[in-house]
């Protein structure tokens, strides 16, 4: 009898434990006995970059005792959007979620997110919803599924001292970049550092696109309703030869062919200590480099003042369709987009009325000049091929040329075929 009682208690305890664990894992909002709504906000930026955000969330919690927000960080995970989809599909996951622009459409299609345009009709944000940048990346089926929150682009970051010493100025065109970087390379400096690895998420993706867009072509394009590769094999081949000439001319060290991250420590440290003259960087990375040396400053990318020659990236805020508290979650999203919140969040806001009031920090003039001319990846998002697939195909194709695995003509022809096959599905 005693044994049976013990086994019964054990089973009951296990059941209670399992339920408690499952509840804890679900991360979903709840309402406590005193009527307080508890929300979870999940973000994926590195913990070193969220001090301002933590301050803003704390300020919200202090002023909204009935709606408490728990900040959750899922940094370093490339598949954060898929992780969120898995949770949301099973009715769990955070209430408010931080998303890259490119992921919004994937989550909108299966209706995992709540359309914020409908919430905005009930309660409008400080900035009217149509005055947010990058709205095209967040729209699907005539609805806005996530509210653009921050915007960024990659500017030309350079070490002023190194450039001055060589008597050179930041280049304004791509051919000029190559010739300037080659001159610097001959003196033993890294002329232009870029992450030239072939990984599916390699940083050269941005340089490749900026170059293609600057030359009036793209990876994929929509000609009168039909999607097709956005350039001919000859055009891709020419672009591959152009980037390969950075390595062959000594403008970029060969070691960069195995560097995948645009924020790689050797790029950031090299720019700060002056052994690297130029690279392309996001605002957060420039700030990181400037912590070491204020000689790191920015200019616009080659051809960066031409509309659509550079990309407009950033983060959106989405609301889980499975949340029990959509209105409270929307209030919090609106708060994160206010000028008051951006006083502590060191990023460029997507709300244009707030952006207009932001003074670019020292050294970030390049971003301020370039941002109004940057365009989102909507030109790819609307197509039938995931942006990640285009990145994978192009990085591997360009990387194959740098390493000598394929000739530029071979690799370009294969890239055209691969894009065409991906369009076909």
């Amino acid at each position: 009898m005693r044994r049976r009682q013990f086994l019964g208690s054990l089973a009951a305890a296990s059941a209670v434990g399992t339920v408690a664990t499952l509840n804890a894992c679900s991360g979903k909002s709840d309402t406590s006995s005193n009527g307080t709504v508890n929300l979870t906000f999940r973000q994926f930026d590195p913990p070193t970059e969220i001090a301002g955000l933590k301050k803003v969330v704390k300020a919200w919690n202090d002023t909204h005792p009935k709606i408490q927000v728990k900040l959750e960080t899922l940094a370093g995970s490339a598949d954060y959007a898929q992780q969120f989809a898995r949770e949301a599909n099973s009715g769990s996951g955070p209430d408010v979620v931080h998303l890259g622009y490119v992921n919004v459409k994937d989550l909108a299609k299966p209706k995992i997110l709540l359309p914020v345009s409908e919430l905005a009709e009930k309660s409008a944000p400080d900035t009217p919803i149509d005055q947010f940048l990058a709205l095209d990346m967040n729209r699907f089926d005539d609805k806005v599924w996530a509210l653009p929150w921050t915007v960024d682009t990659f500017a030309m970051a350079y070490n002023k001292k190194t450039m001055d010493k060589a008597g050179l100025k930041p280049p304004t065109s791509w051919p000029e970049l190559l010739s300037t970087a080659t001159k610097l390379g001959k003196s033993g400096t890294v002329g232009f550092a870029f992450a030239g690895a072939s990984n599916p998420d390699a940083g050269q993706w941005f340089a490749i696109n900026y170059y293609l867009w600057s030359n009036g072509i793209s990876l994929i394009s929509n000609e009168s309703g039909n999607w097709a590769p956005g350039a001919t094999a000859e055009q891709f081949s020419s672009a591959m030869k152009f980037f390969n000439s950075f390595f062959t001319s000594g403008a970029t060290p060969k070691s960069m062919v195995s560097v995948d991250s645009i924020n790689d420590p050797q790029i950031v440290a090299g720019l700060a200590d002056g052994t690297t003259a130029m690279t392309m960087m996001a605002p957060q990375t420039v700030r990181q480099a400037r912590d070491t040396s204020t000689e790191v400053v920015t200019a616009v990318m080659p051809d960066g003042l031409t509309d659509g020659s550079t990309h407009l990236g950033g983060r959106s805020l989405g609301i889980n369709a499975a949340t029990d508290h959509p209105d409270e979650a929307w209030e919090f999203v609106k708060y994160l987009n206010t000028a008051k919140a951006f006083a502590d969040i060191p990023q460029y806001p997507a709300a244009t009325t707030v952006l207009d009031k932001v003074d670019a920090p020292d050294g970030e003039e390049g971003f301020q000049k370039q941002l109004p001319h940057s365009r989102s990846f909507a030109r790819y998002i609307d197509g039938p091929v995931p942006v990640d697939t285009l990145q994978k195909l192009s990085c591997a194709a360009f990387g194959a040329v740098y390493s000598g695995q394929k000739t530029a003509n071979q690799s370009a022809a294969e890239l055209v075929d691969s894009i065409a096959a991906a369009i076909k599905g």
Binding site: D79, A81, Q82, A85, R86, N89, S90, D106, L107, K109, P110, I112, A197, S198, N199, P200, D201, A202, P253, K254, S255, M256, V257, S258, D260, Q266, P386, D388, T389, K392, C395, A396, A397, G399, A400, V401, Y402, S403, G404, Q405, K406, S411, A422
Partner: protein
């Protein structure tokens, strides 16, 4: 009890004076199934269900963003697409030759050599056996991601320690991006994998060596056998079951391995170091084609079944001999 006897008892009609009560007989018949049930349920949940789901995925067009059960049935189209893609064959060749054959053979040879060295009496005499074993185990204690990060730094073309030493020694003029050049990428991945995974093989072989009765060596010595003949005629035959099991385990582990290639090169430069596991991942989670990814997974499983069958047949036959 022979099964025929069990069957007779089970089907024999009850005899008048001592009838077997029906519920009791049923209970007796169902007892083995009841006892096995928890194991069978666990196996079903942990193995059969995921396999069945994988098969379902392979027959559907489905993305990682779809809810469980959503997807369009496409029959064998995913398999056709995967098997007619030339990249699959390049990945397959890399998987079989570099990731599996080369690393398995290297580990078996080096593992056996090191295990024999660690058995030498001189190490015990000098009280160095513990130190040697600890040093040997170190790579295995380091998580693979950390090991890869360390090797990536060591082999970096510009700032890596290996290149700095080689340049300073005058062996090379400028650093080699080991993970970025065609001639060095596979030897570098192989080196990292073998370095990290070798201790397991050595430990297994050491256990096998310790189980060999010493009188066999004594008998061989009395018969005038040299060390080499002793190794060939005593050590190897005794180790054959261990070699078979270890070989099978590391073959399966290598064939399915994802982490070393993904973290070092991501399949590059170009597509030069792409293997089936990295192709599976990028198809499923970069291209959002879960069905095609699942099809690659099933093709890999089929190949592994062939490997396993060959290994087990050869191993069993030799043990029987």
């Amino acid at each position: 009890m022979p099964s025929s006897a069990t069957a007779t008892l089970a089907t024999r009609p009850s005899i008048g004076s001592q009838p077997t009560p029906r519920p009791r007989r049923h209970r007796r018949l169902s007892t083995p199934y009841l006892l096995l049930a928890p194991t069978l349920i666990l196996l079903g949940l942990l193995f059969a269900l995921p396999v069945a789901y994988n098969v379902w995925l392979a027959l559907h067009k489905v993305t990682p963003y779809d809810a469980l059960g959503d997807g369009t049935f496409v029959g064998g189209a995913n398999f056709v697409s995967v098997l007619t893609n030339p990249k699959t064959w390049l990945s397959g060749r890399n998987t079989v030759v570099w990731l599996t054959l080369v690393t398995v053979v290297l580990r078996l040879i080096l593992g056996l050599g090191l295990a024999i060295l660690l058995q030498q009496a001189v190490l015990r005499r000098l009280h160095l056996l513990g130190v040697a074993r600890t040093i040997l185990l170190l790579p295995w204690m380091i998580p693979p991601t950390v090991a890869v990060a360390a090797w990536k730094w060591l082999l970096d073309g510009r700032t890596g320690l290996v290149n700095k030493v080689l340049v300073q020694a005058g062996v090379i003029d400028q650093g080699i991006p080991f993970f970025g050049e065609l001639s060095t990428v596979w030897p570098s991945i192989t080196a990292v994998l073998v370095w990290r995974e070798l201790p397991f093989v050595v430990i297994a072989f050491m256990a096998g060596l310790q189980a060999i009765p010493s009188d066999q060596y004594e008998a061989a010595a009395i018969d005038g056998a040299t060390s080499w003949r002793g190794f060939w005629h005593v050590t190897l035959p005794n180790l054959r079951p261990v070699i078979t099991v270890v070989g099978l385990m590391i073959t399966i582990g290598s064939f399915n391995n994802f982490i070393y290639v993904w973290l070092t090169t991501g399949g590059g430069p170009g597509t030069y170091s792409q293997v089936l596991a990295t192709q599976l991942y990028s198809t499923a989670f970069v291209d959002n084609e879960l069905g095609k990814g699942a099809a690659i997974g099933l093709v890999m499983s089929a190949v592994m079944l062939i490997f396993a069958a060959i290994y087990l047949t050869v191993g069993t036959r030799r043990i029987d001999d």
